[in-house]
Amino acid sequence: MSNNTSDKMKRSDEPIWWGLFSAGGVCFAVFVPAAILFIALLIPAGIISTGAVSFERAQSMVFSLPGLIFIGVVICLPLFHAAHRIRHGLHDLKLGKERQNKIVTYGCAALISALALVGFVIGAL
């Protein structure tokens, strides 16, 4: 066993992904349940009137500072959380190659987050 060769002692870049994963995990646990409950269940089911999300109201809510925060904690961070778990899930199922899985999963998370932010900027302008 040569645990001490410099190659093997390479620092992992995982802290970055783990940091995002953890932040996303907190958001997923704390903010997402409410978001799903209201946006995807109560309103579509008609329990809360769609008036609450009329076009104008929705616009003013989303394209504002609170909207930006919403995008961050309900879209971007949970996406990185999901990407992390999917990447490790692929490893658990012995699918794909470590490096590629990493690029694809985090790449997607980054890309979709970027799209959401671009959307926000367009709307806010």
Binding site: G25, A29, V32, P33, A34, I39, V62, A82
Partner: protein
Amino acid sequence: MAKPTSYFPELKRDWWLKHSYFKKYMAREATVLPLVFFVACLLAGLYSLLQGMESWQGWLQFMQHPMVIALNALAFIASLFHAWTFFQLFPRVMPLRVAGRTLPPNLMVLGQWLGVVAVMVLATWIFLRGL
């Protein structure tokens, strides 16, 4: 590593089906799949909002589709399940010490659930305000 005479069974892809604990683990990891669906819905909503009134109405209708509601209901359950598992992990990863004593884990779990409730209340206030 393994001597030539030894026998070293390789872990097969379906290892997680062999023990109920691992099935629960996989379920925990899989909570992100419905989450991704919900996030995709939100993204679609964001873009429909950019396209104008009609498109937004279309999105609202899309959200009412039974399949979509069902999947989002699943996402809701998944998010709560995730919260349940995640909150238990937290005190073990970052034990908080107050005055030289570790805070009881149950107290920390409770605190986190209070957070969830607070966000629910906030959301209720936001969505019902002005109605």
